[in-house]
């Protein structure tokens, strides 16, 4: 966003283009919603002298002085002209509520392009089109056409679904949950999610950023920006279109391309964004981030007056990144003194069912005082001797005193209403389900880990770019965009080790090359049209020198029989790589439409094909991220020497990951690339085969 962006959420004067009193119209709804606005509202409508008692003007040129924000509700073709007029007049922020742009077809898309051109020309901050509007509680500004205004708060919320916003506000109002700013992104023609997180990062009144998105426009930019933002301001996001069915729906709804779920997991992870699976998590996480401090560590104590819920909480902790705290001897002694004999003084603490407020409070006090305890979850079932209101007060007091995050689990129905409010006033969430409480504390720990990360720059290796470019250009003369083993030099050019070998096109040459290689050789048919060489007998392993000629003929014949119109470039004669002492791994890359190049790694064979045990990162990948990738995969122990094998050279693997990252960053034309297998041995790695897809227009 540019100069004057402050006026988007905190304008002094708001113009409404298309303001009207006509029943049931959007213009009317906006004007009504703006009645509570602290600043000035200026209706613009050539057909009216006044709207709701406020004098109206024909258009912006009739208005004296500066207007910081304009809201447009007029039909699409007028909206474009109105935008231009506003921009020319110096209005810095425009919200286009009007629909009928890119989401409706090609004519609409053309109109949307016009809006983009105007915005670019005048450096306009344009929200939408097809937006519900924007809202900001400090000035009581509701420039949306939704039915309700939000309560004040310190969470700012952006959504790609306007309807979702109205539902959220209605629910949040019931819950007593408030917001600072709300933005309906609409078609994201100009301002997108990256712009808003940047803006709210600088906004001191925004403590947590929430988002509902179906797609991210420029993933890499988002990651780089979010990394900065999340150092100070947590971002929690629900990104839908995660499943096959959901992706179809998203494409229909907003024309979003289905980015892979793995890409989003990796991308949002690398961005330092907390991902919520659903709406409930979105608000659970947001609220606890808003109301509770971030813990110093991940050691959690569970205090409960009922054994069952205590165990449930413990289970949930086992599933999370939290750990059960080990109390100090001093804590145990104190708990032993203050709790009756039947109680459990170890974590999870069970005060037993007859605990009154006094006993409960004492237990919480002792536990929170323990230096080994970073956070706590307090659970309670209703009993006659326990006053929930007083318990809530005690929890709040103690939490504030020790400044450690606490989640409450006061279970029950009606009787929890007032205590929940008390706790809520102090920023402490209350849940019926202990697992939810644990997950919320887990989110705090995740956020703490995010703030601890120090992002590393990627390593730059000394590579042969010209040679790589030359090899990639081979795809231009072809019918398809694919290259195969004939492109192995690409890896060599970027310092990824490949076995000795050459591609030949006569049996005689094959024999000569084989003679120059020690030991038996591997021979493979080279054809960009044949994808699965081994399936068609296109690979021969362990060919001794005297059988090379025959092997050559055989390979070519099989290929021609299998696919008569395949282009055969020859046969690759290659050094045999020792697979016995090595582990087969897969190293690849896929260009995700939203995040850009995604580096993928896993163990080969069934591990990737059946178990799908792979890890991805968005490139460029730093050394630390590459090392993390090796930690990520479940079958990592096999690389480290399980079952009597020697550990492989992990540093060589991480170096290959980084070199590949550099290759695909240097050449945006590479759309997909697979090194399968990358054989890892105790002394290094070798890339044995390669397949890639190139976009010749980007070379």
């Amino acid at each position: 966003m540019t100069r004057g962006a402050r006026g988007l959420f905190a304008p002094d004067r708001v113009a409404v283009v298309g303001a009207t009193e006509r029943e049931g119209s959007i213009g009317q709804a906006i004007m009504e919603n703006l009645q509570d606005f602290d600043g000035e509202v200026i209706p613009l409508n050539p057909k009216r002298d006044e709207v709701f008692g406020i004098p109206a003007y024909d258009d912006i040129t009739d208005v004296d002085g500066d207007v910081d924000l304009a809201v447009i509700v007029v039909p699409p073709h007028i909206a474009v002209e109105a935008t231009r007029q506003l921009a020319e007049h110096g209005v810095a922020n425009v919200v286009v509520i009007t629909a009928g742009f890119g989401e409706t077809g090609s004519e609409g898309a053309a109109r949307e392009r016009e809006l983009q051109d105007i915005a670019a020309e005048y450096e306009l901050n344009l929200v939408g089109p097809n937006s519900l509007g924007v809202m900001s509680t400090p000035a009581k500004m509701n420039a949306t056409f939704g039915p309700d205004a939000a309560l004040p708060g310190s969470m700012s919320f952006m959504s790609q679904s306007g309807a979702f916003i109205t539902a959220v506000i209605d629910w949040a109002n019931d819950q007593g949950i408030g917001f600072k700013d709300i933005a309906s992104l609409g078609n994201k023609a100009v301002l997108d999610e990256t712009d808003f997180i940047t803006f709210w990062h600088e906004d001191e009144a925004t403590e947590v950023i929430l988002a509902y998105l179906e797609g991210i426009d420029d993933g890499r930019e988002f990651i780089d920006t979010a990394r900065e933002v999340t150092k100070d301001t947590p971002i929690v996001m629900v990104k839908s279109g995660r499943t096959e069915a959901g992706a179809q729906a998203a494409s229909s709804h907003t024309g979003t391309i289905a980015g892979s779920e793995q890409a989003y997991e990796a991308g949002l992870d690398q961005a330092g964004v907390l991902r919520a699976e659903n709406v409930q998590e979105l608000f659970d996480f947001a609220q606890i981030l808003e109301g509770q401090p971030v813990p110093a560590g991940n050691q959690v104590a569970v205090i409960s007056n009922a054994g069952g819920p205590g165990v449930m909480a413990t289970d949930a902790i086992g599933d999370s990144n939290l750990e059960m705290a080990n109390f100090t001897d001093e804590t145990l002694r104190q708990l032993g003194d203050s709790l009756p004999d039947g109680a459990n003084i170890y974590n999870p603490v069970d005060t037993i069912g007859d605990a009154d407020n006094e006993r409960f409070r004492t237990a919480i006090d002792i536990v929170l005082a323990d230096p080994n305890v970073d956070a706590a979850i307090v659970l309670s079932a209703p009993v006659a001797v326990l006053d929930y209101d007083e318990l809530a007060e005690d929890i709040a007091t103690l939490q504030a005193e020790y400044e450690k995050p606490v989640a409450a689990g006061l279970m029950g129905g009606e009787r929890t209403a007032n205590p929940e409010e008390i706790l809520g006033d102090h920023g402490i969430p209350n849940y019926f389900d202990p697992a939810r409480g644990v997950q919320s504390l887990d989110a705090l720990v995740t956020y703490r880990n995010i703030t601890d990360i120090e992002y590393q720059a990627p390593t730059t290796y000394d590579v042969d770019r010209e040679r790589a470019a030359e090899i990639l250009h081979a795809v231009e003369g072809r019918d398809t965009n694919r290259l195969g083993v004939e492109a192995m030099g690409l890896l060599d050019a970027y310092g990824i080790p490949i076995p000795e070998g050459e591609i030949v096109d006569t049996p005689g040459d094959a024999e000569t090359v084989a003679a120059s290689i020690e030991g038996d050789v591997v021979m493979k048919i080279v054809s960009p049209d044949i994808l699965h060489k081994s399936d068609i007998g296109g690979v021969k392993v362990g060919v001794p020198g005297e059988e090379v000629r025959d092997a050559y003929e055989d390979l070519v014949t099989r290929a021609k029989n299998y696919q008569p119109d395949a282009t055969i470039l020859g046969v690759q004669v290659q050094e045999m790589v020792d697979l016995e002492s090595g582990s087969e791994t897969i190293l690849g890359m896929n260009r995700d439409p939203q995040f850009g190049p995604l580096i993928l790694f896993g163990l080969g064979g069934i591990f990737v094909e059946i178990l799908e045990d792979t890890t991805v990162r968005v490139a460029p990948v730093s050394e630390r991220e590459a090392e993390e990738m090796l930690e990520d995969i479940e079958s990592a122990p096999l690389l480290r020497g399980a079952r009597g094998r020697d550990p492989v050279d992990e540093a060589a693997i991480t170096e290959s990951v980084q070199r590949l990252s550099q290759l695909v960053t240097d050449f945006p034309a590479i759309l997909e690339l697979d090194i399968n297998p990358l054989v890892a041995t105790p002394t290094g790695v070798q890339a044995v085969d390669i397949r890639l897809t190139v976009d010749p227009d980007q070379l």
């Binding site: 898309a109 024309g255 897809t693």
Partner: protein, 351 residues
């Protein structure tokens, strides 16, 4: 007066493009050129008009005055063939008709270029196969052939035998990279030993492959939903029936393709729009795509066409059309002129 008949043993060898290109080259040399296609077989479909597009193009490009019925005296339609086998056609009368048209057109020309049927044996039913016609108008025959594998030689030699003394020579067209060296180093010398000169070997040229999207749209009876770019060239079709996630990977591997998919597959459509090699989107089943997808298509300049037929039928028809590669425009002939110039001994051919 020189009369040259272009014949082939297979359909779609590029006869029209070569015929017209030769005609243009001859005219550039100040020769008066006449053109005929005695048996019109490439019929306009759908609308039912039985006029061949090739003579029409010839008239335009070679600036000819001749009447359509003279350039194409016989319309070799299914109706004609049925009539012929029932004895309703008189081969004598047909021969006379062709001869008369030939004489009329040849009167003003010093080079006559005659385009044979798709396959040279067509017309045998009424004793008017291409070798019969060559005999009738005293033409030398230039065989224009594709060569996708060495196995094709047997078929070509069969034609050589049948044509006997009439054969002038062979030109190979659209020879794939993988065959080119073999053709030059082994096949051409072999044919010379069989007494058949090879006047040229034209390599496969990507620009001459494929059909325009307008042609495809017309033939499929489609409706353009967005994008006016009918000039887009489509060389292949891909079917979009896989999962949304694998779609992008699949589409990225292709070039100059049209993706054919159901109108209800928004995820496939969106993935297709993301792939650089996808030049057009064809939606089947009479569905409209969601507005958001059309908006994106407009943004990326990818035309979207809607057809009523189902995916399978559409794919089959589209592939047929692409294989047929209709030569409809001056551009293709122009490119062929350049190829002839670069790879063929045109002087020897046109003598």
């Amino acid at each position: 007066m020189n009369t040259l008949l272009l014949a082939s043993t297979q359909e779609s060898t590029g006869k029209t493009a070569v015929a017209l290109a030769l005609g243009q080259l001859a005219r550039a040399d100040d020769r008066a050129v006449g053109y005929m296609k005695p048996k019109g077989t490439r019929l306009q479909s759908n609308v039912g008009k039985t006029l061949d597009a090739d003579p029409m193009l010839a008239r335009e490009l070679l600036d000819l005055d001749a009447e359509m019925h003279e350039m194409e005296p016989i319309v070799y339609s299914t109706t004609f063939i049925e009539g012929a086998i029932r004895g309703q056609e008189d081969p004598e009368e047909l021969r006379d008709r062709i001869e008369e048209s030939y004489r009329d057109i040849a009167a003003d020309a010093d080079l006559m270029i005659i385009e044979g049927s798709g396959v040279y044996t067509t017309g045998g039913i009424v004793d008017l196969a291409d070798d019969d016609i060559a005999e009738l108008v005293d033409a030398g025959v230039l065989l224009l052939e594709r060569l996708d594998s060495v196995g094709d030689l047997d078929r070509i030699l069969g034609a050589v035998d049948r044509l006997g003394d009439r054969i002038e020579g062979i030109v190979f067209n659209a020879v794939p990279d993988s065959m080119y060296d073999l053709v030059e180093s082994d096949i051409v010398p072999y044919l010379e030993t069989r007494g058949v000169p090879v006047y040229g070997v034209i390599p496969h040229n990507r620009n001459l492959a494929g059909v325009t999207l307008s042609d495809l749209t017309d033939e499929l009876g489609g409706q353009v939903l967005t994008g006016e770019n009918g000039d887009v060239f489509v060389e292949r079709v891909l079917v979009g029936a896989m999962s949304g996630e694998s779609a992008l990977s699949h589409f990225r591997r292709t070039k100059d393709a049209a993706v054919i998919t159901g109108g209800d597959r928004a995820d496939i459509q969106r993935a297709a729009l993301e792939a650089p090699g996808v030049k057009a989107l064809i939606l089947t089943g009479g569905f409209d795509a969601p507005g958001a997808v059309l908006g994106k298509a407009a943004e990326r300049d990818v035309p979207v066409v809607k057809v009523q037929s189902d995916t399978l039928a559409t794919v089959e028809r589209a592939e047929e059309l692409i294989r047929g590669g209709r030569v409809r425009d001056a551009r293709t002939v122009e490119q062929m002129r350049q190829l002839l110039h670069d790879h063929v001994d045109v002087d020897a051919v046109l003598r």
